[in-house]
Symmetry: C2
Subunit: 419 residues, 2 copies
């Protein structure tokens, strides 16, 4: 009887899962990657889908297409229902997947700090569907304002509140300001989109806390120039369908976007493992779950011992994915395990809009046009496939020259009384 | 008091409505175009969205963007609820629009020949949402086949039935065959997408009846070479969630696509006007409704007296839109009305897939590679905007070289037991 090759099941086709699978390309194992979506989503550019600059297909690719040439990899589209660490099987819809090694890379979702009911009125931005939903809301708000009977209702429809002053919140605020002041400027007859009010609310003392103070200040100056009101040290106490209650006052707004907090996926309860306050699974120095040396957790779902401050960004997930891939390959080959995982921070970058971005890579700090070009090149480089690199580069060039946004579609229009 | 300019209300932002509005650009009138969607959809390429070659934003544009520079035009996104021809007002959601001239250009929907219940299992292709729904079904069928336990279920999941052998049906069948045999060929491990069964069912004696017999024969030969089974003179008697009953036998199929019949929009009942069997409003030689010289019906919604065989294609709608625009401009200026509308048929063209199309323009008949290049150039030319012309041309070129399709996203995944 031929010997069975060890089975490596990877749950999740994000940055961590894909890199783990690729690292195992030449190992004598069978890789099974399972995800409830058929596509890998390039989350750093999702806000551009939400603000009608790019189409969903420009920032997402079928996972099985990414791995089509890796002969030891099988991709299954199914939703994981549970993990049995005793029997070593993953239950995914109707399929039972036995594993010798398991990599859990299921990422994070939004956290509303115990107010799950805000999710409906204040959507966050994690998946393609979130992005098209937010795009629909933003565009419908302008359409309804054009039809609105009273001035106060029109003001409410033209008010956009973004909760959370990290990279996603800043990018969304800058992009919505450009949609209103540039792309839509001459499209309406009854309203002036330039009068839209865009408010960025941050609970902490400053926006973009991952950056030095100087760069935070630059972001605030740039946003203000674009017409965004930045409110720091301001806590949101309630979101409802008509606006946001702050500690001191209320903003009536038809569109609220949540970029404030994340919560790990429910992997910890599947594994019945220890977790931190954000729901992340506590893992050892080799990213394995204590007591289960063949089960690894990576990316936004992992809380690595002694390295509590690994940020929830793509490079961190990719580094963990590659580490676990190398470690499993070593074990299968009977080679010594690599040294403990060590996160290497490459830097931070975020764009505030047209000709404005902040970049910090070690000692290198860039802002303005140069920062923006650098940001653009990096993001084009990390896109998957020559085709999308080309399409995205062309789209950005075109939009830069014309001040336009090409993906301004409202699909699945809700009834008039719904958001 | 300044004299009010005559108000021209246009219902529908399809080919007819847009061209009517544009033709009135220099007339001393106020044009109000109302549509329940925010976008104009280029229906001739919608099948490419349904088969993952193009993104929705490549074939649809915000109507208000198309008319943004036409100062006498206002665009409203609202759904028309009724027309009062006595008071001369259109009711659209919460807005009441008085008119001096009314142009109804509301197009057509699918007709299931009295079996509306088939719509759920056999979607048609008219709107962007239809296209993304069909794309989702096609891609999910392959994903579920990869997971399927039994061989008969796998066969059913890999069977695609297209009902209707006109241009849309032929284009869909050819495109699905290429998805299965080329784009997906090496992406799966448990199934071979090349074994997918694609059946085109036509009730009449031949496919593409608008074309000469010779071109119909070419289409059948080409489809057969691509692996499509073509069944002519075959009537569908029932569609359900598991397949299609034909007069003589049954095909088990997870995916059914309806391209068989259209029915005019409910304009006739709004107007309380005479209609033909397809629900189209009977209009006079100047496209006005008998008894209402200021109300016009154009495009797929119009049955023009003495010209019963105007096809439901974009050039016909555009010609009617321009005619009505000129007629209204003449009336407002007190000039004599133009002669009765006369439809001028420019030709027919349809693509069967890669390097294969049929073209008939007067005496000119093209097939094969030359026909396909001609078809591509014509469609690129009629797209709106330089940007999309460029993006679509690049995408086609890229897909041609690589045999790929870039927009293979499944969004809004239904539960496992639903289509």
């Amino acid at each position: 009887m031929p010997q069975q090759r060890p089975k490596v099941v990877i749950i999740g086709g994000g940055f961590g899962g894909i890199d783990a699978a690729k690292t195992l390309a030449r190992a004598p194992v069978d890789v099974i990657l399972v995800d409830k979506q058929n596509h890998h989503c390039f989350q750093p550019l999702l806000y551009q889908v939400a603000t009608a600059a790019l189409s969903p297909a420009d920032v997402a690719w079928p996972i099985r297409h990414i791995l089509r040439k890796q002969e030891n990899a099988t991709v299954l589209m199914a939703e994981v229902r549970g993990i049995d660490t005793e029997k070593r099987v993953v239950q995914a819809d109707s399929v039972t997947l036995p594993y010798d090694y398991l990599v859990v890379a299921t990422g994070a979702m939004h956290s509303y700090f115990g107010h799950g009911e805000w999710a409906e009125v204040a959507p966050g931005l994690k998946r393609i569907e979130d992005a098209t939903r937010i795009r629909r809301r933003i565009l419908i708000a302008f359409e309804r304002a054009e039809l609105a009977a009273g001035e106060s209702e029109r003001r409410r429809l033209l008010t956009f509140v973004i909760v959370g002053g990290g990279a996603t919140g800043v990018e969304m605020a800058g992009a919505i300001a450009e949609v209103a002041r540039q792309s839509l400027a001459i499209d309406f007859r009854h309203i002036d989109p330039k009068t839209a009010r865009i408010v960025l609310v941050e609970a902490g003392p400053r926006v973009m806390p991952a950056f030095p103070q100087k760069l935070s200040d630059y972001v605030v100056r740039t946003l203000t120039k674009k017409g965004v009101e930045v409110m720091t040290a301001t806590r949101v106490v309630r979101c409802d369908a008509h606006g946001v209650d702050l500690e001191h006052g209320r903003i009536d707004a038809a569109t609220i976007i949540w970029a404030a907090g994340v919560m790990a996926s429910p992997a910890a309860s599947w594994l019945n493992a220890g977790r931190d306050r954000a729901g992340r699974v506590k893992v050892g120095p080799d990213l394995s779950v204590p007591g289960h040396p063949q089960v690894f957790v990576i990316g936004d779902t992992a809380d690595v011992v002694d390295q509590p401050h690994i940020p929830g960004i793509a490079p961190a997930a990719k580094q963990m994915g590659r580490y676990v891939g190398r470690l499993i390959a070593a074990r299968v080959a009977g080679r010594p395990a690599p040294p403990p995982f060590h996160y290497r921070h490459l830097g931070d970058l975020a764009t505030v809009g047209r000709q404005a971005a902040v970049v910090k890579l070690g000692w290198l700090e860039l802002t303005g046009f140069i920062g923006w070009v650098f940001w653009s090149v990096v993001h084009i480089y990390f896109l998957i496939g020559v085709r999308d690199r080309f399409i995205v580069a062309f789209t950005w060039f075109w939009d830069y020259v014309t001040f336009q946004r090409g993906a301004r579609l409202i699909t699945q229009v809700p009834p008039p009384d719904q958001p």
